[in-house]
Amino acid sequence: MGSAVRRTLGRLAGALFVLWAVATLTFFAIHLVPGDPAQAILGGPGSQASQEALDRVRADYGLDQPLLVQYFAMLGRLVTGNLGDSYALRMPVAELIGGQLAGTVVLALLALLVAWLLAIGLALWSTGPGRASRAVAQGVELTAASLPQFWLATVLIAVFSTALGWLPAVSTGTPTGIVLPVVTLAVPLAGFLAQLMREHLLIALEQPFALSARARGESATGIRLRHALRHAALPGINLSGWAVGYLISGAVVVETIFARPGLGRTLLRAVELRDVPVVLGVVLLVALVYVVMTFVTDALSRVADPRLRQEARP
């Protein structure tokens, strides 16, 4: 019991460290980047900010303070749970992110689900009988995994929206509007998952229990189906933390192409405008989700795989 508490406290300290380090890295990285946030706040193309306005903006946002002062001010704010105000949008970052969160979460979860279903199908196919069909399945997996999302999205729009007219290209209001974005995110992911699953499946099929199941007269498909699902579980759990980063990166591209509101687009725009509080806010949120996910998945995999319990990992 004591060791469990200690481990939990250790993890908690680790999580705080991760959040602090991420905030610090992001803060300094974005301040090293050339570009004047005050200029960005005041306009953009074709506008010419007056000196008074610039001075005012710098004073308003504390941009005239030394960097370290700004850094500690930021840390101070973060400790009290205040993410600050967006430079560009003049609204609290928490409110801004709150408004964009749902879209990305729904998109990411659906994409993950679809990717899993596709991957299971592919894995079953590629471990099926017949060398030729196996080779084709592996080709499909590798192709899927090599498709850049921005390209896939354009092709999907050209085919399903422009040519066939089955699905809307950019409509956020309708339930069908999410189909193409989800497929775009899911297909490359499915390619990876399928490769991963196939390997696990193949190992499982060589295990004694699979052989004995065959000997008991179970069908090959039956065995593959059951084992495919069971063996997908563990890597799936391990994957969840990692998927956060992947999906956010993917969301940047997908949300831009399909004009969906969300964290990815918010992040891209904030980087372009050097909107430090928003970049920090999004990154911290992603880090937080990642930390929580790792924590949960660690606990889950301990439950799922007894061997891990013996290895006392921090």
Binding site: A145, L202, P235
Partner: protein, 284 residues
Amino acid sequence: MSELEVRSTVTVEAAARPLPRFGTVLAGLFVVFLAVAVIWPGLITPYGPDAIAPRDAFQPPSAEHWFGTDESGRDIYSRVIWGTATSLLIGVTATAIGLSLGLLLGAIGGLGGRALDFAVGRVNEVLFAFPGLLLALLVIVLYGPGPVTATIAVGLSTAPGYARIIQGELRGIRSSGFVEAARVLGHSSSGIIRRHILPNALAPIAVLATLGVGQAIVWASALSYLGLGAQPPAPEWGAMLSAGRTYITTAWWMTVFPGLMIVLTTIATTVLGRAITSRRGGAR
């Protein structure tokens, strides 16, 4: 890049499953073709990569222009071939950067004591908690766009994935039966690492590397889409793919051929990678 992390649980035996020999031969031939394209692109191309001819813009594939022409009338086949060197360089170098960093972190974490393992774990988590694309974007806005920064950016954002996989592999090997046996037999730790752990860890790393090259090219192309990739007029597959996307409804050939090269390269290197590791598979 972090996609690679999912492979952490892939074991040597499974990855080494043999593929049809026919495929291996084809893959080998394709890699030879790539090598020629890298070393002597002029030998197999009818035009220079930057030779513009605005009046010949947007021509579909023909006997004269096998892969058609782009928006400036440049021959896409020639650009694809001349672009092989840059694209592979980005792919290979980025993978090498990611792998070496990953190897370093992973080895420290996987072979060192518990404290080191903990420290590396935290460093990894920090890197992992960063969305890969943001890391890449920051590197690029920091050092300006270009093939070098794109390579570094992609390399850096893949490193944590590799580190995890390698750390996992090493830990797995370390706790496996034959290492235990060697320890019982009284072999020194450095000897065990050199003779047993590293050779066994190499095979999965090779598989990772072959997969990583294609992925790195795809990643660099995403940066091009966001307007921050290779500098014009350098022919680079990812940049070509991204430039051609604008004209996808009117000139499909502008994206299909560079895209095909990326996919074929990924498949060929993966198939070869697996063939090689399957031959080494008996080592364990």
